[in-house]
């Protein structure tokens, strides 16, 4: 039972003082059930805004979003959405295992995996009783991922989860994330600033342009899975990277800058 996400003609305006800004302009796209999609675009193009609308944190100004057959509010209330923020945002007074237990406590529900199994899934066994302050940034994000998976979400939304990590750790985390995604059968959406990360992870890379945020291109990544780090050096990979880069910098390339 996998769930797709449909974004239909969604626009989002924010009122700032007396003026208004159009953060997203008429974006339509579909994240197929069980797929892994990446969203890439310059800062301020509305990536976080789009993710927050899918998670029912904010509402679209116009247009609609469907998660499977449900609007985001219903999907959120039935715990179909797992969200990983850019900062791990763990509760510092709770241990690792208690942070992973939080969704279960709040909802009085249990996922198919126990909190212990989730900690194991993200490779943190032995650290169950550690406090967040005792973990590295990468370990904290793993806890955040385990927490997002606690109630078997159908969709996993990740807003630059590894943005603050160094290159080496990020590559390792990405490989693990793909494994976790396969094991949990979720529809994953990853927001990223890194072209190679987007291509390495996704089935489709959606490129957004800024001011206003629009969908500039959707590039299918037909690289075989499972993906290994050796892939980063292949020609096919580099060609796809260039394709994404061309879409990202279309304006600059056209104007010869």
């Amino acid at each position: 039972m996998m769930t797709d996400i449909q974004i239909k003609a969604v626009s989002k305006r924010f009122a700032i003082d007396r003026s208004e800004i159009l953060a997203l302009d008429d974006v339509s796209l579909t994240f197929p059930a069980g797929s892994f999609s990446a969203l890439i675009g310059p800062s301020g193009c509305g990536k976080s805004t789009l993710l927050r609308m899918i998670a029912d944190v904010i509402a679209p100004s116009t247009g609609s979003i469907l998660i499977g057959d449900h609007p985001p509010g219903k999907a959120r209330r039935s715990h179909e959405i797992g969200f990983v923020f850019q900062s791990a945002s763990l509760l510092p007074w709770r241990s690792v295992i208690d942070n992973v237990r939080l969704p279960g406590e709040l909802s009085n529900k249990q996922g198919s995996r126990s909190p212990e199994a989730l900690v194991d899934l993200v490779g943190l066994n032995g650290f169950e009783e550690a406090k967040p302050a005792q973990l590295s940034g990468g370990m904290q994000q793993r806890v955040a991922i385990a927490r997002a998976l606690a109630l078997d979400p159908k969709v996993l939304l990740m807003d630059e989860p590894f943005g603050a990590l160094d290159e080496i750790t990020r590559q390792r985390m990405n490989v693990e994330l793909l494994r976790i995604w396969k094991e949990t059968n979720t529809t994953a959406v990853l927001v990223t600033h890194t072209i190679s990360e987007a291509v390495f992870m996704a089935d489709t890379v959606h490129v957004l342009s800024a001011h206003p945020g629009r969908l500039a291109a959707s590039i299918a990544i037909d690289l075989p899975r499972p993906r290994h780090l050796a892939l980063l050096q292949s020609h096919a990979f580099n060609a796809l990277e260039n394709q994404v880069r061309a879409a990202l910098f279309a304006k600059e390339i056209a104007s010869g800058r």
Binding site: D56, H79, S89, L91, P92, W93, Q134
Partner: protein, 267 residues
Amino acid sequence: MAADAMVGHIGSLVVRRLPPLLLLVAIGLVWEAAKLGGLLPITVPAPGAVWTALIDHGGDLVYHSIATLGAALTGYVAAIAVAAALAGLAVTWPISERPVFTLAILIDSLPLIAVAPILMLWLGNGTTLHVIVAAGAALFPLLVGMIQGFKSTDSTTRELFHVLSASRWQTLTRLMLPNALPAIFSALKVAAPLALLGTLIAEWMGTDRGLGTLIIYALFSFNVPLVWLSILTVCALTAVSYALLAFAEHRLVDWAHPRGTTGGRST
């Protein structure tokens, strides 16, 4: 091994506590000598005289301290309850934040020493007055600390609770309250001496029992060592309240001092 560590621990404790203790003893000796040499005015007693006063008036001191402590503590707890209710109101119902603050500022801007006599006219000079003045003195820092503590929750974590469909009550108790604990403890530490001070001021209006009464009595009978002794007792009570709160804070909010900053345990 463990015994070695134990000895080491006690050793380091002595090494840490010894210099201030020695300093205190030295100051006492110099003071006593200065008094004997006639270098100090009559309003400053020798430490020995204060000590004698403690032996003579120890029972009185306990008798009056209990009354003061009881009123201060009751007022303090009442202030905590009122501050918690008002802060909860201000945080869960943002429109009420300004009126709540205005009220608190109003109460805080009233000079206690001027208000106490008016209150005395209404309430008589009994325990009720002492408790109310103590509560009034402690309320403002408690309220500010609680509201700021509650509001310091970062927006991402609140979004997390929203995505997890947490109820308002769950958000308050599982997120905002624990998050506010460091700020609340700071406020508790500031407010405790204020409650004590409020009680003393109220007692000065004239009552038959309390440290404030004892100070006035000692003053008018020109018993200088007893004045000093009463004041030292107030200082000691303040110090003890601070130490108790610091201990509770250390126990409850250990997460607010991440790795190593609390000293001691190293990993």
